[in-house]
Subunit: 287 residues, 7 copies
């Protein structure tokens, strides 16, 4: 190509190597851009819950969600970019070595043996990352949500691709590897439900108790404080849930805002108790 000058192959090699490296840097740049774009799109619109969240969200929450979405995109993107860089630059180095007619077999042998040895042990790690990637992609939970991760239950304090950090009610901080989570229960999406079982004596006036409980339910729904901050639907009184020789069990159920069920239950207990006391209907050790 350059005639038969003795320096020709050297020059040709040098040019090739420079070309390879320049190409590698360009491809890496392009790959990073691509990853950023794809990840952003995934974080914005593709999540399972995005539509759902919007429905229940006000404008203030929209800003919050936007911030969260951005963080998710960054977390996902950073690892993908690292992987892409390693593959592209590794290929470039190997190609250069090959062009220089340096034997790469010994290197590959060393790396290969090590690679297999580590590969087996690292599968848990890869599992964790893949699981974390999809959790973020599907927006299963975010910082501040109360989740049940199986190994631990608590409020999410941090989400990375490998581990999720929770803090339980006792103040204990839990590090749970994402790959060990087979199912996530998120208590902070949409609504929660507060229950109360009311066991009354066998010979109580069924209809009367029902009316009484429904009245308590209406009161709760009418309470502006509760309605605004805690409850999303009027309480329902279910019929006789359980029936034995000594007690009839009624059940009141109410949909609350996420994570407000404990507070609502406490309020409900107080109100039902005093209403029954007033009406002179004793609760019995039924349930």
């Amino acid at each position: 190509m350059f005639g038969n000058a003795p320096w020709a192959p050297l020059v040709a090699s040098a040019i090739t190597i420079v070309l390879i490296l320049v190409l590698a840097v360009i491809i890496r740049k392009v790959a990073h851009r691509l990853i950023t774009k794809v990840v952003n799109r995934a974080a914005e619109g593709g999540s399972l819950t995005s539509r759902f969240r919007k429905g229940a969200a006000t404008d203030g929450i929209d800003a919050l969600l936007h911030e969260r979405r951005k963080q998710r995109a960054e977390t996902m993107g950073s690892v993908l970019k690292h992987v892409a860089s390693i593959v592209i630059m590794g290929t470039a180095v190997l190609t250069v070595l090959d062009r220089l007619t340096i034997p790469i077999a010994p290197l590959l042998t060393s790396v290969g043996i090590l690679g297999v040895a580590i590969g087996f042990g690292a599968q848990e790690l890869v599992k964790d990352f893949i699981a974390g990637m999809f959790m973020l992609l599907e927006d299963q939970y975010g910082v501040g949500d109360v989740i049940d991760a199986g190994a631990a239950v608590g409020t999410v304090e941090a989400v990375t691709l490998r581990v999720t950090r929770l803090r339980d009610v006792d103040g204990r901080v839990w590090y749970v590897r994402n790959g060990t989570i087979t199912r996530i229960g998120n208590e902070s999406q949409g609504w929660s439900r507060a229950y109360m079982d009311v066991p009354v004596a066998y010979d109580a006036d069924i209809l009367g108790v029902r009316v009484l409980l429904e009245h308590v339910g209406e009161e709760i729904w009418a309470d502006p404080e509760l309605r605004e901050a805690k409850i999303v639907e009027p309480p329902q009184v279910f019929g006789v849930e359980q029936l034995s020789d000594s007690s009839l069990v009624f059940r009141i159920s109410v949909k609350t805002l996420p994570s407000q069920q404990a507070a609502v239950s406490r309020e409900m207990r107080l109100r039902v108790k005093s209403a029954l006391d007033t009406a002179g209907i004793p609760m019995v050790a039924g349930a």
Copy 2:
């Protein structure tokens, strides 16, 4: 082929490359068409439950099922199309590189090492997708069904190839990976059954109680409201289910529409209780 003109091999290469790329695009198109067709056929007629569902379905439900079928076909098809595109375009790129006498061994080495490392970790992911694919294919459940997925029980809110999203009665949202589900229990197909065990005193009139319970059963069946919206068969009174020194346990069983068993049970409890009260037969703490 083109004589020995110096530019001949370059031209030949260029033509080959263009041919390869055009061919790849065509094959990809064909593959996508094929996938769409196959998936549609699978979604329409091949499902295990299609015949069964039709039997219980009215016209309104038919439209619903059609919509659901279409969604299933789309979900299944999208992943298959992605996979086909990657394989076809990847092959094309490798073939082009090969034609340009660019050494692809280093690239394959890099990708291969990474591939093995990820391959092990990703098997869970592939398992999830395969499981999801077959769940959709066999139409095991759809949005709105109440299912028992082992890790969680609740109403299906979303089905993707990787996870199923449920919401349990407490309002908790569960993300269950499809590959971790070994058996699905679907409560929304065909019918459910409501039970009630009635323990009466040992010296009660067996025949009398039986007749009484059968009478309650007939009343329930005769009630137009229940019959229309909730019950699909007249209640049955089974004989003595259990027998001890202090009580005889009768059992009433009734087939209801899917997920209506709790409401029917409550109604049944109320009616049996008042019938026994009227007849003066006390229930005992038997079961």
Copy 3:
């Protein structure tokens, strides 16, 4: 072979390709025939239970079994035929590509990487199919049988190579993957057994109670209705099964037709109860 005419290699290639494709189609045909034959033979005579079932079967059941056998052969055959087609046609395509001196290495690389990635994840799927294949081959259960599949107990509604669909007594529909079933308990083969434990007071007349229970057993065996539709052997009264300071426990056992044990038990409870009442022997809370 064709002299040195310039078009000779092209013609030779074309002929070879046509030959290969024709051969592939023929081999595929033969393979399908072979599969049909083998599968039919396997379904007819080779099953573990075929001899057993015949013994208990009347002519009407013979027809049913024939139908069932045919369905099993079809289910088994369809998958085997798909696999054979894919292998044979894939081999043909690769051979043609090879003859056309098209490099197939890049294609194999792409497919290979994908294949490994999927292969790991798909082993569960293959396990399910192999398990299903052998379940059908050994005729372990069929539609209508009541089985205990570990994950769920119920009546079989459908059997495919991948999943078995059951419906339990509550009306819940269960999809159980065949590969997750390590043991099957089939309640619908041959006979079932109904038990009743009868605890009597410590100072009861052992011999008298025994005679009484044996008498009840004879009555049951003599009842034409029970004998015809439900019982296959006269009831047996076992001696003292358990012995403590407060009670002696007798046991009656009776072989029934498959799945009739619950009904027979109820009948038996009623009869034993009234016989003991008549004889004035109280049952005690023993067992």
Copy 4:
């Protein structure tokens, strides 16, 4: 070898191919013979329990064992012969294709990909067969034995290389995969043991009770009916097994013929009860 006649290579190829096929058939024949011999020898003398069984066996049982041994040899041999045939004929076909200079790489590729895909899933199957092979080889159990296979307990109805079919006392038929059985408990080899715990009051005459129980034991041993058909050693009375403030627990133990322990226990309970009644020693709720 045949000079340079144009037809020489064709003839040579033809001869080679015929030779290969003939050789394959011969080797297959030899292999089958060999398998039959080895398997017969293994079934006859090599089993762990053969010596043991002979000791306890009469001549009638010898014939039975011979029959059983023959069946085991056949079951084991059939699979080995299939495997040998497939390997030998497969090798022959590949060698022939190779001789015909037909490229076998594409075929191997197709089969290889399929093989790996299936190989992973089929390991359970291979495990089952290997486990079954060794169970037969070691004669761990046979048709008619009562075994505890972990997943199910019952009487063996059929043994194949893949599954063992049991029937439990309730008449349920169990199919247990051999590979899932990690330990087998066989109740039908040699002898069983029947126990009875006798709790007497704290202030009872220890020596007197002991003598009484030993007397009952002698009676049982003296009973010709029991001795002939059910018991193999005189019953033993162990000393005070347990000691508390309210009761002293004696234990009687007796070795019975296999699977006769339930019947012997019932008999023992009756006799001890009446002996204690006669002697006026009350049993107490001790154990």
Copy 5:
């Protein structure tokens, strides 16, 4: 390159070998430097908890954290350096052998067989190291923290890449392999919470009890000793946590410094008890 002198290839080989070895040593040096830098950066700023810890830390703790950070960096770095050395020197040796035209295939064969044999068994080891690496990297716990590692709960005494050494309250020393820890619960980060459930009689004055408990809470918060060393927030009195026929259960909760919850609980118990005694309100066996 050196003309055709007979010693030319020898000299060329010698030079090449020296070059290879020198290069290897240089690359090793560079790799070690790189590792030190990366690890230091990771230990300093990249940890999940670094920001969190700083918030709760005083200056004295800052020094402690610095020391701890340094140790973590050293622990992580040492293994990485070993691995890098082995890979680089191994590659160099293989390259030298290759240059000397010594056949390395037999060596690779021996090492390869051994490598596969060990590789399988060593994956647990690699898992442990990877897990330990990330635990250090994310600073999940350090010496002196009280952690719940699943297999054991206690105070961390030493952390290496393979095992974590704990001492539980009984003085037992536990060695837990890092790879077996799927989730870590750290009780020494931020705060803990002390609870006390106070069951009072059904007819107690709800409001009065509440006021009383709130008063006890204020006293505790006012106590300078507790406030300084143990408590971080004023105690809260929750409403009626549980409600039955015999008791109303109130709950007091207080955030304490890490690991101080037991001491605070003991103090709280004493104070509540004496306050209730003084007020004449009896506690009942409720919870």
Copy 6:
């Protein structure tokens, strides 16, 4: 080597083949000798427990141990010899085929595919054999020992490389695969310990009871029959093991010969009981 005579290569091949086969037979012989020697040495001196056993063994037991050692060596050697034979002869056959320029690739392909398929399934088998090999090598137990193998507890009846056959106290024969045993508990090595907990009334004379129990212990140790055949150390009376409002629990402990603890316990119970009776100290339902 033999000039250019046309029969030269044939002769050379024949000679080579004969040489190969002769060499193979010789190597096999040597390998077997080697195995015998190594195994014998391992069985004789290398076992973990050999020194320990000798200490407790009399001359009669020495002969028994010698016999047992010989059997172990034979069991271990037989499998190793089979494996060596197969490897050596297989290599010889392949080398011969190679020399005859017969293509062995197709054979290897067939065997290889089969090998992989079986290899996966056979790992359990190999595990069993390796486990059995080491159990024998370390002499963990022998025929006649009472062991706890996890899956079953009983007396060892036979030990092979794959399974261990136990017989439990009920006469059930257990086949336990060696590879499923993760820990062995051997009750027949050195000594066992018999316990007895003696709960006395709260107001009993602690010192008096202690003296009394120590006296019983001395009596037991003085009893020639017990001392010779059953006990190896004088009984020890531990102080108050447990302390509650109603009882003080003393504990007597005595080291016995292996498997004699049940008999010694019974004896101890009788003696303690009568001693307490004589001294008028009642036992209470404490423990």
Copy 7:
């Protein structure tokens, strides 16, 4: 190199072979030396617990630890030396065969197939050895320590690379495979803790009881016998550990020398009991 004499290649081969073997022996020697050195260094200074042990150790124990360290080094070294020998000599043999132009492919094939077959099954073995290696290296326990190995608890009698032999308190000897131990609890390092819970009546004088218990604690600490041989810190009296309607539970805790907690507990129980008796404070069935 040796001119063209006909015997030249033979001589060259012979020399090469001798060189290879001599080199192998030398390398093996060097490798063994290296292993000895590394292992000794590891055993001496690198163990996790070495510094800790020294702190609590007297001079006599130092000698003991030295002996133990030496044994550990030998145990670790022996296996590593075996492995090194096998690799080095195996490589030498293969190289020699290669030089003699003997085809080693058939040998490698045989060994390879066997190797894979065994490799899978042997991973448990390798796991055991690796686990044992690190247990020794980290000096987690030694002969005489009381450890909790999960599968068994007892005193260590022997430690090898594959199994650990324990003897539990009943005299049962346990063989636990090192690879199955995921966490070790060592009771013989540093100190143990003895607890005693003292439930007193609700209306007891809290302060008085506390003073009394503290007094008992001081007495125990003052007792020279206990202090010298058993206790390492004065006992502590914790406040009210539990609080209910019927009892107040106090807790005394004392740090003892390793494995002395049972003896100290017994002593403590006696002393607390008599102190309470003297003071007339009854213990109640609280805890």
